[in-house]
């Protein structure tokens, strides 16, 4: 794999999760000869390696697979078609002209370069500091993903009695996993009046295991100097203010945080990639090209996905477009048509469409809604006045990505539009 490592590549992909794997494979298939995949972990697969639960691949393979099995299919393909990779190797820096500095205990320190790059570094978890939980700083306050790594990869239990703060997917999945492992999960607390993860995870991970979920509740204080001894839970009103008199002391030794994910864009920033303050990921076009020529981004690094299948799809598009840069194409300064978040939409990805590259291939507009609508809704795109496309959904929830696919028949209207306004409104 790494024996004949070159210093120049057609395409270098950073991050070997589902986004990066799909991008590398697709770049190779579309004419990029030398493709290198780099990951700091010891194996290919990204975050999927620690997601040993089922629920992956229902769209892509019409099968319900555990994370590592889903990843393995792409790993096999990548190896078959001859993609090179560097593992246990971190990318320290990417310059705007695509020089790449890496270091690894086994791979040494390297300077590489590429004609095109795909960033697929995934995301990181929000921490205690970001939500400013009062109290001392004992051991036993972990993010759910850290606990997941400990349990599923290292084989250790980071506690015996848990409270989970936040109803994100990882927190709910971990609540079930820890229960399987004989731990007691006292409660899941969620500050919002609705779930922040997928409804299916609520049913399969909490309801089925009698783990109580309390909406509009949070942790007022952590107790315990060396190790967590309890948390003080409290109800909050619509303005997130504590409601006096509702405090409750819950004895526990661990507080797990599942309070959101943030795209991991330190490298992107150094490379000069412009970031969208709403998603915290790069502004991308329909080919997942960022603001820096030759640098693409796909997966959780762009915005946080709930289903791996859409990550794979984004990776494929980015990889294919990266190959097109290598083989020579593309107007360097497209006259973009921007997308804009309209009614009840927090953001839309991609943030802009290149009218010249619109082909017969469908383009999926991905969005998150601002507030939940528990009724039939219309997802619609207009050019400001006239409807371009729409679809119906049974409901819209902030915890679940909403999408609308534009097809060839819509493209004439898209090309003429000054901007595309996307909204999700009651039917």
């Amino acid at each position: 794999m790494t024996h004949t490592l070159k210093s120049h590549y057609d395409v270098i992909v950073i991050g070997a999760g589902p986004g990066g794997l799909a991008a590398a494979i697709e770049a190779k298939k579309h004419g990029a000869d030398d493709v290198l995949l780099i990951d700091r972990d010891l194996e290919l697969g990204g975050i999927l390696l620690q997601c040993i639960h089922n629920g992956f691949g229902v769209e892509t393979f019409k099968e319900d697979l555990p994370g590592p099995s889903y990843a393995q299919r792409f790993v096999n393909e990548a190896q078959t078609i001859g993609i090179e990779y560097l593992l246990d190797t971190i990318v320290l820096e990417v310059t705007p002209d695509r020089r790449v500095y890496t270091t690894g205990a086994r791979t040494g320190f390297k300077e590489l370069s590429a004609k095109a790059m795909v960033f697929s570094m995934g995301c990181r978890e929000r921490t205690r500091a970001q939500i400013r939980i009062p109290g001392p700083r004992p051991a036993g306050v972990f993010t759910a993903g850290t606990a997941q790594r400990w349990v599923n990869v290292e084989g250790y239990m980071p506690g015996s009695r848990f409270v989970v703060l936040g109803s994100g997917d990882i927190g709910m999945i971990m609540a079930r996993r820890l229960t399987f492992e004989g731990a007691k999960v006292e409660r899941v607390l969620e500050v919002m009046p609705y779930l922040s993860g997928l409804s299916r995870n609520y049913v399969q991970c909490l309801l089925d295991f009698d783990i109580p979920l309390q909406l509009q509740h949070t942790v007022k204080r952590i107790i315990g100097k060396n190790r967590v001894e309890a948390v003080e839970a409290v109800a909050v009103d619509d303005q997130w203010q504590f409601i006096p008199g509702t405090e409750e002391l819950i004895p526990c030794d661990t507080l797990l945080l599942s309070v959101g994910l943030i795209p991991e864009n330190e490298l992107s920033q150094k490379a000069g990639v412009a970031l969208d303050p709403v998603t915290a990921g790069p502004y991308v076009d329909d080919g997942f090209l960022t603001s820096v020529p030759g640098i693409f981004a796909a997966g959780n690094v762009v915005h946080v996905y709930d289903l791996v299948d859409w990550v794979t799809q984004a990776g494929r598009t980015a990889g294919k477009r990266a190959a097109m840069v290598v083989t020579g194409c593309c107007n360097p300064e497209p006259a973009y048509v921007p997308t804009r978040a309209g009614d009840n939409v927090r953001y839309v990805v991609p943030q802009r469409l290149d009218p010249e590259t619109l082909t017969q291939e469908p383009i999926m507009l991905q969005m998150r809604v601002t507030r939940p609508l528990e009724q039939s809704v219309t997802v619609q795109v207009t050019d400001g006045d006239t409807l371009i496309a729409k679809k119906a959904e049974r409901y819209a929830r902030p915890g679940e990505m909403v999408s609308l696919t534009l097809k060839g028949k819509d493209y004439d209207a898209v090309r003429k539009a000054k901007e595309l306004k996307v909204s999700v409104v009651p039917k």
Partner: protein
Amino acid sequence: MPQPYDIIIIGAGIVGAMIARTLARYDVRILWLEKASDIGVGATAANSALIHAGHDAVPGSLKAEMNVKANPLWDQLSEELHFAFQRTGAYVVAIGPEEFAKLEQLLDRARQNGVPAEILSGEVMRQREPQINPAVSGALHIPTGGIVDPWGATVAAAENAVLNGVELRLNTEFLDFIWEGEKASGRVDESKIQNPKSKIVGIHTSAGDFYARWVINAAGLFADEVMHKAGVRPEFKITPRRGEYFVMDRNQLQLNNVLFPVPTAVSKGILVTMTLHGNTLVGPNAENIEDKTDVDVTPQGMAETWAGGLKLVPGLKQRDIIAIFAGLRPAGNAPCANPAVDYAHDFIIEIPAEVAGFVNLGGMESPALTAAPAIAARVVELLQGAGEELREKAAWNPLRQDRPVFRHLTREEQAALVAQDPRYGRVICRCETVTEGEIVAEIHAPIPATTYDAIKRRTWLGTGRCLGGFDMPRVVEILARELGKNPLEISKKGPGSEFLFRQTKEAAL
């Protein structure tokens, strides 16, 4: 009775460390005790990290004297011991016309203390710090102020002390004094001595008895309790005064100055300051509390601190906060030794007349970090004054070897280091780029880092945006491997703070 020491030092904060380092120069046997599992975990672990110029200390106080004497010592110290220090200068920023009027008084005080300072216009201040509150009306510029890595300084001084022969014992708590004539049973044989509490000859600790001709009290927040056991200054009381802080993401906020507000009666106020790690620090507020171990962050404290930060830099954003913490100032109530100076919170640095064999320090609140090297020098003078000869050792080495810090190296240096030792190629903390090589070096350093927090303070790992979420499992694994322990035994900060409870069902099979 075991071979007695010449000197025992109680407490391994910055003050104890500077004393140990300074005394290690002399031909004396020194035992240095710390009750925690690591050095530098008290007030020294959570403060503003400023080397104060001495501009606002009360003129004529011991604090002012020690501060002003110590300030110029830091350049040489940081060169000899290799820790991060930068003479940045500092600004006291006036917002609005009323505060501007106060700058004159501050300038006057600085002059009385012999500290160079100048008043700048609001316009100049806006140029020097574009992120400052546009309502800035002026500022006092104090060019000799600086910033330091307080943990780095403590570890460096301590390590140098240990390499020069000081015996450091962690996890060893001072419990009481042993008096001359006291029998091994701990009871005083009154018949043998005239004054039962006249001469200290040793101490009882949680790890046994130790004897020495001198005992130095550098116990920080607990200095009052130590001196009371010696029968000294029964009226002296330390009140923990808590200060809360925010650490900001350096990728989102770059601020290149040390900004004080115009001070209040009780404290220097809530600062917005650059640090040597590149992060901006906002804090501290000041709240007197009871419990000397209560480093909770609180909703009120956070709100007050944030408001204080916004006053100086209105553009601060809550989403850029990456860490919150609190520290306790060991605020004392000792009047200034000079009766002409009306000041009731001075440092104590003395050999009390009523007890022999005791060097007593107390009230080591700000600016004791800054003042520590001068305090250490004063301790030497006191001992010499009491007849200690303190001969210099021929073998004394003032220098401490630097250890590589991967992120501070150029790309070429990084490549060379990785080629030489591949462990420096494996990045364990992704946000702060701390490598396995650095972690292993700290675990096997002259003062070994044996807990997660000890490694964190030394390498700055786990302090970035993800707060250790990524590195924690990896550091636990490295600690276990290097210390030959089971991962279940690895703790955050000593016994009772272990991370892991047991293996999972599959792993246990």
